[in-house]
């Protein structure tokens, strides 16, 4: 370390201590002008044995504790370097050298996990829903296309916690290390726009090293530091990827894409689906976009072009929109299937939608969604079944030559359905009361329908015919909807089960 750097750092150390309280914000703004300071501090952190490390860490913590955003960001910019320092030291099993870095990181963590009143902070966000009007859209314009189970379960806006509450931590242990570090990266990522290029580069470097050390790729990258493998968690990698994504789009193309590759490499080896998911998405979304590197276009490389506004899809192609009005008439009814087949589709989420669609009738149009445990073997078959149950009260008077088998079939199916809807007891509290009442209404409405089927065939005037056919659409949902019955005379229940992927 050069004497000059040391001088800069020492000056910085003494300067802040003598600062009066009211001068802090001016001081924070002036930090940017000290060109030599930041590189000098990086050097201090990199050289683990420097005498200056401890006072520097202390001062960085003081900066963070001051609450002044600019000072906090000043500290945060060193976070990637500090993390690497901590991880490499802990990998080398030399616990004595990183004490002050540990203290700094834990200090920031303990400050960040509580709010101003000292209560645990919970970071949450609202999941937008197309079914609620927003500043950008009206639900009616979107149409019904997004009415999936998930959309309905979240009818309205739901607030979701994505981090917290966290426990205060006194020390780093192998168990809590990545929990703390992941949270710290989350804080860093929240301030990404304020980070300098050096900091982003340091983040990329950290990501690469954490991911490749001890693996064959280390040779390719020619990194000669520690060569022990570092344990990582998927969540940690996802946070790294978030930072890398920003770096990649804001000037650090070369380092960023290298880092992204390395993280994906590690995620593959560790079989982390979360990290692979986000990493793949970033790679694929940047595939077409020609990223400009730092040298020419300024720091930001986000560019847009004028795009043609007319639809590029020719009018005569069949699209989901054009097909929507189309009515499918399928008659290849398949029976409910043997229990073995049904067992195959053992999916966790069960959804039930009764509901009618038809302008000329007034069916129960309640839509509910439930993620329900189906406790009956066969009822598992009702996987994501969308049931359009309604009584068909039109003129099909003669249609009641009730086959016994068919009515049994109906009863069987009815049992399963009620089971499905009534077993919602041990359900997580994510449901709204709306869906609960709806489920009650549903079982009632279905009962009506079912009882409409069961009566003996003598009753021609009852003329309540329910036909249900359940077919698996390409989006994985089954639709159970009444089909006008002209050819067949008996009510029948048919469930078409498509291949479950």
């Amino acid at each position: 370390m050069l004497a000059m750097d040391q001088g800069v750092v020492e000056e910085w150390l003494s300067e802040f201590k003598t600062l009066p309280d009211n001068a802090v914000s001016n001081y924070a703004a002036s930090l940017k002008d000290k060109a030599a300071l930041v590189p000098a501090l990086y050097k201090v952190i990199r050289e683990n044995y420097s005498d200056l490390l401890e006072p520097v860490c202390h001062q960085l913590f003081e900066f963070y504790r001051s609450g002044e955003p600019q000072l906090q960001r000043f500290t945060l910019q060193f976070l990637p370097e500090l993390l690497w320092s901590l991880l490499s030291v802990s990998a080398a099993r030399d616990p004595h050298t990183s004490g002050c870095i540990e203290a700094l990181l834990l200090g920031i963590y303990n400050l960040e996990i509580v709010d101003k009143d000292g209560q645990s902070k919970v970071l949450s966000f609202t999941v937008p829903s197309l079914s609620k009007p927003s500043v950008y859209h009206e639900p009616s314009a979107i149409g019904s296309i997004a009415l999936t189970e998930g959309a309905l379960a979240n009818h309205g806006l739901s607030r979701v916690v994505y981090s917290g509450p966290h426990l205060q931590r006194e020390t780093f242990t192998a168990q809590n290390r990545f929990e703390v570090l992941t949270f710290l990266l989350l804080c860093y990522n929240a301030a990404l726009s304020y980070m300098t290029a050096i900091s982003l580069q340091s983040l990329c470097q950290l990501s690469s090293r954490v991911c490749i050390c001890g693996y064959p790729r280390q040779q390719i990258r020619r990194y000669k530091g520690i060569s022990t493998r570092l344990t990582v968690t998927s969540e940690f990698l996802v946070q790294l990827i978030t930072g890398i994504h920003y770096a990649l789009c804001n000037g650090e193309v070369e380092q960023g894409s290298k880092a992204l590759d390395d993280v994906l490499y590690r995620a593959q080896l560790e079989l982390f689906p979360e990290a692979l998911l986000v990493g793949n998405a970033i790679k694929s979304s940047l595939h077409g976009a020609a990223l400009k590197s730092n040298n020419k276009e300024g720091a930001r490389s986000i560019q847009v072009e004028i795009t043609p506004t007319s639809s590029r899809i020719s009018r005569n192609a069949v699209t989901s929109l054009s097909i929507r009005g189309h009515r499918w008439k399928r008659h290849d009814a398949v029976d409910l299937g043997s229990p073995d087949e049904l067992m195959d589709i053992s999916e966790v989420d069960e959804g039930v939608w009764p509901g009618g669609v038809g302008p000329d009738m007034t069916p129960p149009t309640i839509t509910i969604s439930n993620s329900v445990t189906t406790l009956n073997l066969g009822a598992k078959a009702m996987k994501k079944c969308r049931l359009g149950g309604r009584s068909n009260k039109d003129k099909e008077a003669g249609a009641l030559t009730t086959g016994r088998a068919a009515s049994e079939n109906a009863e069987l199916s009815f049992k399963r359905l009620t089971l499905t809807s009534s077993q919602s007891v041990p359900k997580a509290g994510a449901l709204t009361s709306l869906t609960r009442t709806a489920s009650a209404v549903f079982s009632r409405s279905f009962e009506q329908v079912a009882s409409g089927i069961v009566p003996p065939s003598s009753n021609h005037t009852a003329s309540e015919v329910g036909r249900y056919s359940c077919s698996l659409q390409e989006d994985g949902l089954g639709y159970l909807s009444p089909v006008p019955n002209h050819t067949q005379r008996s009510p029948s229940i048919s469930v078409h089960l498509g291949s479950d992927l």
Binding site: P69, L167, A174, Q175, R229, R300, G429
Partner: protein, 958 residues
């Protein structure tokens, strides 16, 4: 009169045609017009000029980025018409303006930018009325602003010929800025008016269709934005971004998006929504974000610092603006991810609508276009949702992408990964199969499938098949080859544990050992390979060899919890209990919340330090359990926040929660309840817990779960005993209500346990105070009911190892405490602890087994027998129960039955030395000395290598 009337009708007709861009009808109308009134000749010229210009532009559209140059022969006529209209000066002011605007446009098309600007300055665009103007004029004005902007960009700023009012500023630098500002203002105005025009045009069109239903012409025809309007709508933000002015670019995007959409703007909106989402995700962070309804920050890190200060805010106003979305309770995003998500959901719904479904070759291009635009949106959705950990929602979104996914590997793979991340394992495996078909060379995909098969699904045969795929890739799999062997080794190892026949067990163990050795030799630096090799050796009771490899694993990964645990167990097998305990304590200093280690600790402590220490550890475990699962904030709801989600998210913790005898063959079927409980039922969502911790809630009514927790009935507040010191919360309790109810539970518990008060040695009651589940057990027993129903529906031959329920952990802790008390010969306390576990899982064979032990302790042989039989009826292969039952039968002198039971037990687990010992005793009692000796010898031999808890409590996962 009639002439005038028809004349005005003619005018309306002309206006309509101009608004609807039906230029081909104009010449005919002009002919009619000139037949009516002579004074309209000039108007005729204007109209003819306009229609010819527009037709020309329609036939020769200007391309973005290309600048028109030079006079076009076809436009000569246009110029003639317009000149004629302008020169005579007979036109009304409105039409005169229109003629000038058209002339300027013509000039632009011919490349005469200065002339065009001249025309615009004469017209003074700013004065043109927006209110009450016919629809077509709005479009004209919008185009005029755009064209003016284009011209200003073309003409050099310093040009003296410029007819710019703002020129004359002293510094040329400032004039450049001013000029830039002027250009941007032109475009922004153009864009705003264009949006207004499109809204009005659509309104007029729909009104027109309703009014005169006959001869609608090409009604459904969409309006088309020409080059000029497109430029006007988009050029402003393009310039902002080019200048590095993200703040204003984003602001402009938002303005366009907030305008109420119509058919023509849909595609533009989709693009812009996606682009804005990209910017929000790529270029912004939480701290630099501002909401769409807020003013942007004056200084933002998003803007190019070298141009900072040039970020003038919008400085114009229009008399009429496009309608924006309004109303009460509009959702306005408050965070960048929220806004990005909203925008992406809107884009997604549009992209989904445009999904080209037909697969005929003619539509190939359309399909590719629709796929591309959709997959960009889905990728961005993945980034946004992945950042927030919302994998469940993501998997639902990606499921909707499946209509694009035919033969598209990326979409399939992403769906599979999202299903996996959302914990929908069975489905994930099925999708992964399709991914393997599409990309058979990628070793990661089958490995992911094995991971699921070994872990949550316990589909060992499928797992074997997937692992073999990786191995069959040979050298191509590179670094993944070792992983493949590791995977197959794990499959065999688990199969060996499940196998009921000794010969199959040994066969699988041999295979597993071989595979682990292979993995270890292929990847000597992988600690997992060494660790699993050690574990497998340990299971086969090759203790010294196992110690060698576990040391190797620890050298590679010093703080690996499973290696440390295995080391401790190996030491305990060598009867170095104190060393083992030291190792466990060391491991616990790194993993203080690992229940698995704690279970072993309890066992070792009661062995080395006496039961008092062990009880303290039990209490400590209860405290950890409480702080760990109490932490979840009860106020949050929705996905991703329930306890279980958290438990699933935290894989380390999950592994830590494996029950001690969980993967033991004898308990496998009973533990299946835990498997099934984890996915479909999630009774531990915070709201459930908070309500259920109140005794008031009626378990039969699910609706109660949705209500805020009512205060528990403190029947007699004065009765509150000073009680045991409430354990200090290691962390501020999330809510006061909660800790309040909690306290009340304790008191209730205390009251109901009066009989136990006298047995209050060793902090017994304080143990209850930590984690009594009296009230929660109502819920839990319901859960248990559900669980056991599922469990009974599953064959015991299909054991499942899955993520565990927090309640399971709690029950396990109580059972451990009960065991310690039984060891101390304290049946009352033991039975109280068992009761706690039984409240949670009344039909668990472990609970029944423990009850049997207590009965034995009390000397009730018959009762014990009954409990054991019940336990066996739930889990017929629970070896410990079989052993106890065998002993009791022995005591009852029913030797042959006893022998039968014990032989069965040995068949299930041939390494249980105490079973061998009991068998020896029974055989001896029957007078079969030779066989008895053999049994005793076997028992002796096995005992020498027997760990304190079975090695298989260490979880095996990829």
């Amino acid at each position: 009169m009639t002439a005038r009337k028809s004349g005005s009708r003619l005018e309306t007709e002309i206006e309509r045609c101009r608004s609807e861009s039906q230029w081909d009808k104009i010449p005919e109308l002009v002919r009619q017009l000139s037949a009516k009134l002579i004074s309209n000749d000039d108007l005729g010229e204007l109209l003819l000029g306009e229609c010819k210009l527009q037709t020309y532009l329609k036939e020769n559209p200007i391309k973005q980025g290309a600048s028109p140059r030079g006079p076009r022969p076809k436009l000569v006529e246009v110029r003639k018409h317009l000149t004629a209209a302008l020169d005579r000066g007979n036109l009304k002011a409105d039409y005169l303006q229109e003629a000038s605007l058209l002339m300027a446009k013509l000039c632009y098309v011919e490349g005469e930018y200065r002339d065009a600007l001249g025309h615009y300055s004469r017209v003074s665009l700013e004065d043109m009325q927006l209110g009450g103007a016919p629809v077509y004029r709005l479009s004209m004005i919008a185009e005029a602003y755009a064209t003016k902007g284009l011209c200003l960009e073309k003409v050099p700023a310093a040009s003296p010929a410029l007819s710019n009012k703002n020129t004359g500023s002293p510094s040329s630098n400032r004039s450049i800025t001013d000029r830039e500002q002027e250009i941007i203002t032109c475009y922004e105005k153009s864009g705003d008016i264009a949006l207004l025009y499109l809204q009005e045009a659509e309104k007029a069109l729909s009104a027109g269709i309703q009014n005169r239903s006959p001869k609608p012409g090409p009604t459904a025809q969409d309006l088309e934005l020409g080059y000029f309007l497109e430029t006007g709508l988009q050029r402003a933000h393009v310039i902002h971004f080019k200048n590095g002015n993200l703040t204003r670019g984003v602001g402009r995007f938002r303005e366009i998006l907030r305008a109420v959409e119509n058919r023509t703007t849909q595609s533009l909106r989709m693009t812009i929504a996606r682009q804005l989402a990209e910017i929000l995700l790529r270029g912004m962070c939480e701290q630099s974000y501002w909401s769409p309804l807020e003013d942007p920050p004056t200084v933002s890190p998003l803007d190019d610092p070298t141009r900072q200060g040039h970020t003038l805010s919008k400085n114009y106003s229009l008399s009429r603006r496009p309608r924006v979305y309004s109303g009460e309770n509009l959702f306005c995003p408050q965070e960048n991810t929220e806004e990005a998500l909203l925008l992406l959901l809107i884009s997604e719904s549009m992209a989904n609508r445009d999904a080209v479904l037909s697969r005929i070759p003619e539509h190939n291009n359309d399909r590719i276009i629709s796929l591309q635009s959709a997959s960009v949106v889905y990728d961005l959705l993945t980034i946004a949702l992945g950042r927030r950990g919302q994998y469940e929602m993501l998997s639902e979104c990606l499921e909707r992408a499946m209509k694009f996914a035919f033969e598209e590997f990326h979409l399939w793979y992403q769906l599979a990964l999202s299903l996996m991340a959302a914990g929908k394992s069975a489905r994930a495996v099925k999708v992964l199969k399709e991914c393997i078909r599409l990309k058979p060379d990628d070793p990661t995909i089958p490995l992911l499938a094995v991971k699921l098969c070994i872990g949550p699904l316990h589909w060992l045969d499928e797992g074997e098949c997937f692992a073999n795929m990786v191995i069959d890739m040979g050298e191509k799999a590179a670094e993944f080859r070792a992983k493949g062997f590791l995977a197959i080794g794990l499959v065999y190892s688990l199969k060996a544990t499940d196998a009921s026949l000794r010969s199959t067990q040994e066969e699988y163990q041999r295979k597993a050992l071989g595979a682990f050795q292979r993995a270890q030799s292929l990847s000597p630096t992988d600690h997992l390979a060494a660790f699993y090799l050690a574990l497998q050796l340990a299971v086969s009771r090759q203790i010294p060899e196992a110690l060698g490899y576990v040391r190797q694993a620890l050298q590679l990964q010093g703080d690996d919890v499973h290696s440390l645990h295995l080391l401790a167990l190996l030491l305990s097998a060598q009867k170095h209990y104190h060393d083992a305990l030291n190792i466990i304590e060391m491991a616990l200093s790194e993993y203080p919340e690992n229940f698995n280690l704690l279970y072993t600790k309890v066992k070792l402590e009661s062995m080395c330090r006496g039961p008092e220490e062990a009880l303290l550890s039990c209490k400590h475990m209860l405290q950890i359990w409480k702080s760990f699962y109490n932490l979840t904030n009860p106020s949050d709801s929705g996905r991703g926040s329930s306890l279980l989600d958290r438990a699933i998210a935290d894989r380390r913790q999950l592994n830590a929660m494996t029950l001690p005898d969980f993967s033991d063959p004898e308990t496998v079927s009973g533990s299946s309840s835990s498997y099934s409980g984890s996915e479909p039922v999630s009774p531990t969502s915070p709201s459930t817990i908070s309500t259920l911790s109140s005794p008031l809630s009626s378990p039969s009514s699910p609706l109660f779960i949705l209500q805020p927790p009512p205060l528990p009935p403190t029947k007699n507040p004065t009765f509150l005993p000073p009680g045991p010191p409430h354990p200090p919360l290691p962390h501020p309790a999330p809510t006061r209500t909660r800790s309040h109810t909690f306290c009340n539970h304790i008191t209730l518990r205390q009251l109901s346990n009066c009989g136990l008060q006298d047995a209050n040695i060793l902090g017994f009651s304080s143990m209850f105070s930590v984690c009594s589940v009296h009230a929660t057990s109502i819920a839990a027993s319901r859960v248990e009911q559900a669980l056991s129903e599922v469990a009974s529906s599953l064959q015991s031959s299909a054991p499942k190892h899955g993520p565990l329920h927090p309640w399971m952990t709690l029950a396990q802790i109580w059972l451990h405490a009960a065991e310690v008390y039984t060891g101390m010969s304290k049946p009352a306390e033991a039975s109280a602890c068992t009761q706690e576990a039984s409240n949670l899982f009344p039909t668990s064979h472990n609970v029944l087994y423990m009850r049997g032990q207590i009965a034995e302790l009390r000397g009730n042989i018959e009762e014990a027998k009954r409990w054991y039989e019940e336990a066996l009826s739930i889990n017929p292969t629970h070896v410990k129960t079989m052993q106890r039952l065998g002993l009791i039968l022995h005591q009852l002198q029913r030797y042959s039955l006893s022998e039968k039971v014990l032989r069965d037990a040995v068949q299930v687990n041939s390494t249980a030395h105490d079973v061998w010992n009991s068998l020896g005793e029974v055989l001896q009692a029957q007078g079969n000395a030779a066989a008895a000796t053999e049994c005793f010898l076997t028992a002796l031999e096995l005992e020498a290598s027997s760990p304190i808890l079975p090695f298989t409590i260490i979880p095996r996962a990829l």
